[in-house]
Symmetry: C3
Subunit: 259 residues, 3 copies
């Protein structure tokens, strides 16, 4: 039986999604984009989770699209229209996942791999990563919908380096440019990503979800509904808020039930 | 007589607003948000000013909302709707103050304290500050209107660290993330903030006010009126512009009268 | 015969535009803005180019607007309305040039010189540059259309330093603030700018042009047409894409013909 190319495991309240195609440095073909979407949508629906970590096997996050599959999957316009739609829905499944998503970056973070990383809420990597989007090496045009979140994260100056130049950044450069949330010590990305997930888990999950959604709404990625506008002060009607205030005033650690 | 919880003083053409509730690290209750708004609106109307510095007493900027007052002020939805409105108007009084506003950051810059800082035009702090928005510790949802300026300042990646993780940054980290305009030497935030205010005071006040307003208009915070659109080249009709060009050509320092 | 104040030369597939008014540190008068526009529009139409480098003679990029010419060119509202329009069209000729544009920054990068730099796709400078927009020294209001790209590049916090304070940054500070794409070793800006141009030249020109245009469209500078929306997957119908995939799979360097 072949190894599962996308592993979903769980450590406490953190889900871990592992890209497992080491023979191609975890490159994504069409089936893998669909697996990622299925995994993220399933995790998003799981109310018991507090965070999701994305990572790759064998020392690499993801080397991008699987070019060996291009002839079959991206050979003409009709195929590319499907491929782009599948990729987009997969990227959106990260972006709209109700839980915070952390990219644990190691080794190659290239092309669609860097694309996946930019869709996450947090990016943790060490100095040894190679991070960049290399569409210009293949004459590819990166999709508008996947460029926009990069602009919203690092501005049009760094976006020019990423998309026009196709620059490959070291971990330190990526941190200096705002592409990494955290620069880990060498080999420590896994530990730091997990510590971040656990730290998020100690806070209010309703608060984390509200703020993640707010970044989508205010970034213009989703229209803000009248209901969402009206719900802004709704935390005051949650049990968690009142329990946390009580805990604070009696100098105890708050426990959040997510309601 | 109790000490005034909000002191407004003046040094030359700079106004200094000091949060003075050292017993709670200058935390804000409802009355304090209203005092800040009253102070800022009064200073905004004062044509003789060139800059405003916000600071706190006793080594701390502001530790955020005064949680001891929550039961009275934020206990249910009706109260929270009022609280959020008062907080919003207070924050806007900084944002729309006609003069540039500088946050002099020391010690705790937490929760609403960091919120106030992000509303200012400039943030000067030393390496020892603790800077972060900790809504997630209490199950609070930060208001949309106060999240948006943070996105416009540092992008959605750093905003995720602030709002979803609730990360507490050191001064150096805050500087690296674009949250501080200046990283001062230890203990030097006060001197640097004042030097910045005085430096702003040597430039054209009409220019400073136009540019502050332009950042609000272009950031999408205010609609741009036809009158404002038409006024863009209006500097050429001010005395200050012609005097400054003459001064420059005769190698003298310009003096700006604000007209 | 006087020296040409704007030199256009070519090195391989890179055009080099040199501001050549060393007697005023390459400051721009009305005629120079028009020369820049004419040069950029001509280069934009040249399909054989891959990149454009902007630079100044005699160790300076550009000291800004030529204040000696203000009495004639910017003395009243009617003149200023023309001046602002000419400046805007000149700035747009950089922004809309189909090829990536690199600013090679040395010495003074002040006022309109820094403005030109912010219009470019890339900014390469060493630690010794002086970079800043000093409208506030003359009581000038910087045009909305030229402020907006700066906000989109570095956010409203750094924009406040640039426009309200009129801060002059060193090369290192400018790099830390996201104003420089690259911080070159002392005296190495020319070599780094040229290396960047050549590196861009090794990638797909259609890809570079698509991404440059995408940054304009997604940044809100241009409306996105239905045709442009529909063209997003069009790379799959180019020769360059299929040749590059073939080259990649046979471990050869791709050659891009731009079609």
């Amino acid at each position: 039986m072949p190894a599962d190319p996308m592993l979903v495991t769980r450590e406490g309240e953190t889900a871990i999604v592992t890209f497992n195609r080491p023979e191609v440095r975890n490159a994504f073909d069409l089936a893998q984009w669909r697996r990622l979407q299925a995994a993220m949508e399933s995790l998003s629906a799981d109310e018991t989770l507090r965070a999701v970590v994305l990572r790759g096997t064998a020392g690499h996050f993801c080397a991008g699209a699987d070019i060996g599959a291009f002839a079959i999957e991206r050979g003409d316009r009709a195929k590319e229209d499907i491929y782009a739609q599948v990729l987009h829905e997969s990227m959106q499944s990260i972006r709209l996942c109700r839980h915070p998503v952390i990219a644990q970056l190691e080794g190659s973070v290239i092309g669609g791999g860097a694309g996946i990383a930019t869709m996450c809420d947090f990016r943790v990597g060490d100095g040894d990563i190679r991070f960049g989007i290399t569409a210009r090496n293949l004459g590819i045009w990166y999709p508008y919908a996947e460029i926009e979140p990069v602009i919203r994260m690092v501005g049009i100056g760094v976006a020019a380096e990423i998309f026009i130049e196709g620059r490959i950044f070291t971990g330190r450069e990526a941190y200096e440019k705002g592409l990494l949330s955290r620069l880990a010590a060498d080999g420590a990305a896994a530990g730091e990503a997990m510590a971040l997930a656990q730290r998020i888990g100690t806070g209010s999950p309703l608060s984390a979800r509200f703020h993640k959604r707010a970044l989508r709404l205010l970034g213009g990625e989703l229209p803000i509904s009248a209901e969402e506008e009206a719900s802004a002060n709704g935390f005051v009607e949650t049990e968690d808020f009142h329990n946390a205030v009580r805990a604070f005033l009696s100098k105890q650690k708050p426990i959040f039930a997510g309601r």
